[in-house]
């Protein structure tokens, strides 16, 4: 193989739960490192790199400084991969976008609010071009490995577009609706191997909506299973406020 790809890892607004070191990658970490050179990673090393082949970026953009930094990353990276719900769709952070921004600043920073400029929490793709996504909260490990090996091989990673229900059915799980729960799986993107329903939990939508979701249809499903209209939309907003707000208003 030619020179190893140079990799840089960045974090923006998020809990840093997605970054590689936080995941149980012990088994695969050495294999991963064998294929790339990590040239910048604030959490694990000092220094800055001027150029890299692949940038993995975690977190949403929520301050003017974030916007400036992401442009810089984009300029230096050949390939930019968004890691986790915050980077891909704004994530839980974006729930704040459903409230007036001044109220949010006051709530979080109190009287110091003028010291902390804040913007609505945005996915990376609303500011720069994102080449690939690794979804989930925290990001889905199996998907990270798939995207990673595809990039190392110079292949185009395939992003699933079908619903979590498909993976649930492949495993012959009992649908959690049968247990009186309410699940967002029908409109959420697969790729996590239906992680939550497989252990008897409902899907909260961390991997984002399927393309062209029928959200009115999903609202009807949630309401017919006992939620109020408002609860239904709140449930949908938890991880997907940016997309859901657009449809609802």
């Amino acid at each position: 193989m030619a020179d190893k790809p140079r990799v840089a890892i960045f974090d923006f607004t998020g809990c840093e739960g997605c970054e590689l070191n936080q995941l149980n990658f012990e088994d695969q970490l050495l294999d991963i490192l064998a294929h790339v050179d990590i040239v910048e990673w604030r959490e694990a090393m000092d220094g800055h790199a001027d150029e890299y082949d692949i940038a993995f970026v975690e977190g949403s953009l929520s301050t003017p400084d974030c916007i400036q930094r992401i442009h810089e990353v984009r300029r230096k990276a050949k390939v930019l991969v968004a890691l986790g719900a915050c980077a891909v769709q704004g994530g839980v952070n974006a729930v704040k976008n459903t409230h007036p921004i001044d109220e949010v600043r006051e709530e979080v920073y109190g009287q110091d609010k003028y010291l902390f400029p804040t913007l609505p929490a945005l996915p990376l793709s609303s500011v720069v071009k994102v080449d690939y996504n690794v979804r989930g909260c925290p990001m889905t490990q199996i998907e990270f490995l798939k995207v990673f090996t595809s990039l190392v091989m110079g292949k185009e990673p395939v992003e699933p577009e079908h619903s979590v229900c498909v993976e649930c059915k492949l495993k012959e799980n009992e649908c959690v609706f049968e247990r009186g729960m309410i699940c967002l799986g029908p409109v959420i993107r697969a790729g996590c191997d239906a992680q939550c329903p497989s252990v008897g939990q409902y899907c909260t939508g961390c991997r984002g909506l399927v393309p062209e979701p029928n959200l009115e249809g999903m609202e009807e499903i949630l309401v017919s299973h006992g939620l109020s209209v408002d609860e239904a939309w709140k449930r949908l907003e938890l991880y997907n406020a940016n997309e859901v707000e657009g449809v609802r208003s």
């Binding site: 064998a34 059915k169 029928n214």
Partner: protein, 340 residues
């Protein structure tokens, strides 16, 4: 046909007797109120009284996920996995699910025979059981009776206190050798009534479907449908799949895998270059229903839906294939009697 009698509390004994001859797969309770076909380990865990299993026995001949081949990127070689024959007894199968297997036999052997399916089907023995139709079954409307013994080696008909046992093939007779069962003298009880019906006489199926392409039912259904694909994945006569290559993290090799796929899913109808040839949920729903009641039916003269009711029972949006067909029939009748 000799009819024998099996008391309810001897079912486990019969299962144990069968297990001495071949592996036995039977319905088991799974989750809070569901049932799934699994290999029997404990004869008393096999369930005969159940409304429907989550996946039909299709999953044993056409598994949800399977590896077609593995490859080695260093040596540049590949090896195709051997597909073992089922060679087992499927105990407690409902008539519509065996009807679905017969339809898959057609789909997987016409044209390009599908060698994995055909290999897995070898040595499969079927023991059927009658059932009481629930609020979703409508097999009667597609010509499959709850007592339909076609294709079974042994059939059990439910009575109040036990089952009538009939061996229908030499294989079935052989399996019952060595278990003492008394003769059953009285006839079969009346079958349970269906609560669901499609009002589509088989002879008119073609005509009704021919005039249905532009029907408004497709758009109306699409307002509620969220395109989750569940109705495809639970259908015992759906046979679509997709194939993907997976490479290991060492980038030294990997596998070519296939899994069930379905026409309600957007990525199923997407082709290279990003074009999606059935863009809307209305087009996809029409395609699904036409696959069950028109396209293959035009070829074979038979509905390709077996009336199991799974797609309706599992649709969280409450979309009912029975209601869709009945609306098409209603509109056809209206059109047919309206003077031009």
């Amino acid at each position: 046909m000799v009819q024998l009698f099996l008391e309810s509390d001897r079912v486990a004994e019969l299962v144990a007797h069968l297990m001495k001859q071949k592996s036995v797969f039977a319905p088991h309770a799974k989750g809070r109120k569901s049932f799934a076909f699994e290999e029997v380990k404990d004869p008393s865990a096999a369930v005969l009284d159940y409304p429907r299993v989550m996946h039909s026995i299709r999953k044993f001949f056409f598994p949800p996920q399977e590896t077609l081949m593995t490859f080695d990127l260093k040596e540049n070689t590949c090896s195709v996995a051997e597909t073992p024959a089922a060679d087992a007894i499927f105990f407690g199968v409902h008539s519509y699910d065996l009807g679905a297997v017969h339809r898959l036999d057609y789909n997987f052997s016409e044209g390009n025979p599908e060698k994995n399916y055909i290999a897995r089907r070898q040595g499969a023995v079927f023991v059927g059981v009658s059932y009481k139709p629930d609020e979703f079954h409508f097999s009667g409307s597609v010509g499959i009776d709850p007592y339909d013994t076609a294709g079974f080696d042994i059939f059990l008909t439910k009575l109040l206190d036990g089952y009538i046992v009939e061996a229908l093939t030499p294989v079935g007779e052989g399996l019952l050798d060595g278990i003492e069962l008394p003769a059953h003298e009285a006839g079969k009880p009346a079958r349970g009534h269906f609560q669901q019906h499609i009002y589509l006489p088989q002879a008119k199926l073609g005509q009704v479907m021919d005039g249905s392409y532009q029907n408004e039912v497709w758009d109306d259904t699409a307002k509620k449908c969220v395109g989750c694909g569940t109705c495809n994945l639970v259908c015992p006569t759906c046979y679509c799949f997709t194939v993907e290559d997976e490479v290991n993290v060492q980038v030294t090799g990997g596998s070519r895998d296939r899994r069930w796929d379905g026409c309600m899913l957007r990525d199923f109808s997407a082709v290279a270059g990003g074009e999606v040839f059935r863009e809307t949920l209305a087009e996809r729903q029409r395609h699904r229903v036409f696959r069950k009641f028109k396209y293959i039916s035009d070829e074979t003269g038979q509905p390709w839906c077996v009336g199991c009711g799974r797609c309706t029972a599992c649709c969280t949006a409450g979309i009912s294939i029975v209601n869709i067909i009945n609306r098409l029939v209603g509109d056809y009748e209206k059109v047919a009697v309206t003077p031009i």
